[in-house]
């Protein structure tokens, strides 16, 4: 694993390279779009438009910071707090607007003022939820619903009040609900970029603190970490992402850029460090992609497009993720079933031979010479004829069995060796489970092939000794009776 210092270097280098894009030479001073030559689509496609480039960069950085902060929201199991912050910010914007209007008429829509209002209100809303959860008997989900509706309702009413104000116009304020990436200017984006980078650095500085908080807040508290403060800090970061995101994605959907990248990354890794990197990449990718697409189709709501891009990446991760993705898990399950079926077949044949020959240790010669029919094996396990025949076909394809002209089968040398190994492992596991019942459930692995990977060599040696006969046979007897079709059931032959 890279050292942490190395990781910091990499991240900072990446950030530096990305932000150096800000200093690309402009193709002329900011011209109006109508003056530019070439079709708009091509211009966007090749990023030859300075404005588009900057907006793309800004929203990508936003997506990255949202992803990183969102990891800890996800791990803290408070994903919906992002939603609360987003919705609670609305009255803050309205109040900030009204206050600015009263103080200096006409300055209502100054961005820093609105962002400050949104930040404070969003923070207040989330803190209300936390306090309700901590100090009252209201359940967290109810608290979320209550606070969210309360603040959002307040915000909507305030907006209607603003609309009635004689000089002001609230038209611009509505855009903060749904975002306006398409009409962003390069000058707006500076704030995006810097805030996003600041949020990212702050989160990464407190990486271990947040990890501990999310994993075991009891231990954190006992260790002396200020849990309430850390929680509030996390919410502050969420509020920070919200106020940056409210311009591009809009308040209503800002929770999506927090949670979706982190949730998608979870399908690819079981390590919190890689989870953060993955969420950052997916967040940047989905925001960039969304911006790109909406630049080509300016009439579509930009925020929604960004969220749709993120969601598509989520679906892809859900299906294809190498750690928990559905397809991967299905493949693993199938592999296990196939392998088990194969081993079951070989074992059944071996045990059949064992019981007809009435020995504990079947020789190589006996293994290779034995002939058997599918029908003989039917009773040994719970399979039906069709499945058994399919398994035999698989085994023939794998060159473990060979078919004779009369329809019976016999072992190949490879198949014989595999059968022997499968029987040995299975019996060792059985004995281990019997002897060490208390320990076994934690160690037993149904994929018996890997007994050597799970149990220590000394342990295996011990088990083998236990299973051995005095006359040092190489294969242990089965601890339970084996059914046989052509002779009465053999007596249990444990050592």
């Amino acid at each position: 694993m890279n050292s942490q210092a190395g990781k910091i270097r990499h991240i900072l280098m990446g950030l530096f390279m990305v932000s150096s894009m800000l200093f690309f030479p402009k193709s002329g001073v900011c011209r109006e779009p109508e003056n530019m030559t070439g079709s708009p689509l091509l211009r966007v496609l090749f990023l030859s438009d300075y404005n588009t480039r900057i907006v793309l960069l800004g929203t990508s950085l936003l997506g990255m910071s949202g992803g990183i902060v969102g990891v800890f929201m996800l791990l803290r199991k408070r994903s919906l707090i992002g939603d609360v912050v987003g919705h609670s910010a609305l009255p803050g914007i309205a109040i900030a607007f009204i206050v600015s209007q009263m103080v200096a008429p006409g300055s209502g829509k100054n961005l820093p003022g609105l962002m400050a209002g949104a930040f404070l209100a969003g923070l207040t809303g989330a803190l209300c939820v936390m306090l309700i959860d901590r100090y009252s008997r209201v359940r967290p989900d109810a608290a979320l619903a209550i606070v969210l509706s309360l603040f959002y309702g307040l915000g909507t009413s305030l907006l209607t009040v603003i609309q009635r104000m004689p000089t002001a116009s609230a038209a611009g304020l509505q855009t903060y609900l749904n975002g306006k990436t398409a009409s962003l200017l390069a000058s707006d984006v500076w704030i995006f970029a810097l805030s996003s980078i600041a949020l990212t650095i702050l989160t990464l500085c407190l990486f271990k603190e947040f990890t501990l908080l999310c994993f075991d807040d009891t231990f954190a508290s006992a260790s002396g970490w200020p849990v309430l403060f850390l929680d509030s800090l996390l919410i502050g970061l969420v509020a920070g992402v919200t106020i940056v995101g409210m311009q591009s994605v809009g308040l209503i959907l800002v929770v999506a850029i927090l949670i979706i990248p982190a949730a998608s990354a979870r399908f690819w890794t079981d390590d919190v460090r890689w989870l953060t990197v993955g969420a950052a990449i997916l967040g940047a990718l989905s925001a960039g992609l969304g911006t790109f697409i909406s630049a080509m189709a300016p009439r579509l709501a930009a925020g929604a497009i960004i969220v749709l891009s993120g969601s598509s990446l989520f679906v892809v991760s859900l299906l294809l993720g190498t750690r928990r993705g559905l397809i991967w898990r299905w493949r693993e399950q199938r592999r296990l079933q196939r392998r088990t079926g194969r081993h079951d077949l070989l074992r059944a044949i071996y045990e059949q031979i064992e019981s007809t020959e009435s020995v504990h240790d079947v020789t190589e010669q006996q293994l290779l010479q034995a002939r058997f029919y599918a029908a003989q094996l039917l009773e040994m396990r719970s399979w039906n004829l069709r499945r058994l025949q399919r398994l035999i076909q698989h085994a023939i394809r794998n060159e473990e069995l060979e078919q004779n002209p009369d329809g019976s089968c016999h072992f190949t040398p490879d198949g014989a060796a595999l059968a022997r190994r499968a029987v040995r492992n299975h019996r060792l596991w059985e004995l281990y489970l019997i002897n060490d019942a208390a320990v076994a459930p934690g160690h037993a692995d149904y994929d018996a092939d890997r007994i050597e990977h799970v149990l220590a060599p000394e342990m295996i040696r011990q088990l083998e000794e236990q299973l051995m006969h005095q006359d040092d046979k190489t294969l242990p007897a089965s601890p339970h009776t084996i059914p046989t079709t052509d002779a009465p059931a053999q007596a249990d032959s444990t050592p």
């Binding site: 942490q4 500085c205 407190l206 990486f207 271990k208 990890t211 075991d216 009891t218 006992a222 208390a438």
Partner: protein, 283 residues
Amino acid sequence: MLHFPACSEYHWGDMSTPAMPEALESSVNSDHPAESPLSIRDLTVAYQRRPVVWDIDYVAPAGRLVAVIGPNGAGKSTLLKASLDLIPRVSGKVRFFGQPYRKVRDQVAYVPQRTSVDWDFPVNALDVAAMGLYRQIGWCRWVTRKYREQALHALERVGMADYAHRQIRQLSGGQQQRVFLARALAQNANLYLMDEPFAGVDAATERAIVSILQDLRTAGKTALVVHHDLQTVSEYFDEVLLLNLRLVASGPTENVFTAENLKRTYGGKLSLLDQVGARIAGS
């Protein structure tokens, strides 16, 4: 869940100070002696108006292994948590080595119940062990190699070094418990408070934990362990603390862990297994 004994069961005679060995008598005169790793005075914890822990006076001996036992709902976990300021107290003062907790945090290690955590968390065993060192590392610094090696050393002590990079979800219950223990050991504390470390672990882990506890005692450290298995108390622990909302008795195992005291603690609610254990203890 809360067991508040019915009036008829309540032995008013028990309100007197529980019998304590002579040696400790003098140290109780000063409420919170500096030699005692944990001294509790008048501790009461209530949930709304129902008491969960009632009027506890206790001075823990240094360098011994103490079992905290009692029926379900007796307040054993609450006692530990309230001492560590994790839950609010109605009344009482708790001192560690004569000092308030916040001043001696680095000398006290807490091992919470294994079930208090969601193990489906994207960290590995080494990460969890390193969490015990976070306080040392301080704010805003990352876990460097030096600390990772210390954490690995702690994992070695519990026999989990080979699993250092295994994701914790893939560990068995006993292995998870050992990782929790490694986290506490990494702190190099003088007092260890453990909440049911033997619950649901396999025999090998149980032996490993007992061995570590004995090593701690040899090194002069103290451990207070919430324990549920009466059969093993005499074997593992030097002292016991019998709790059922109130302190029933405390002191050296051979003196205090008697059938009589157990009956008083469990108040007739002894389960079948507990009775077996009690009979073994009495014999």
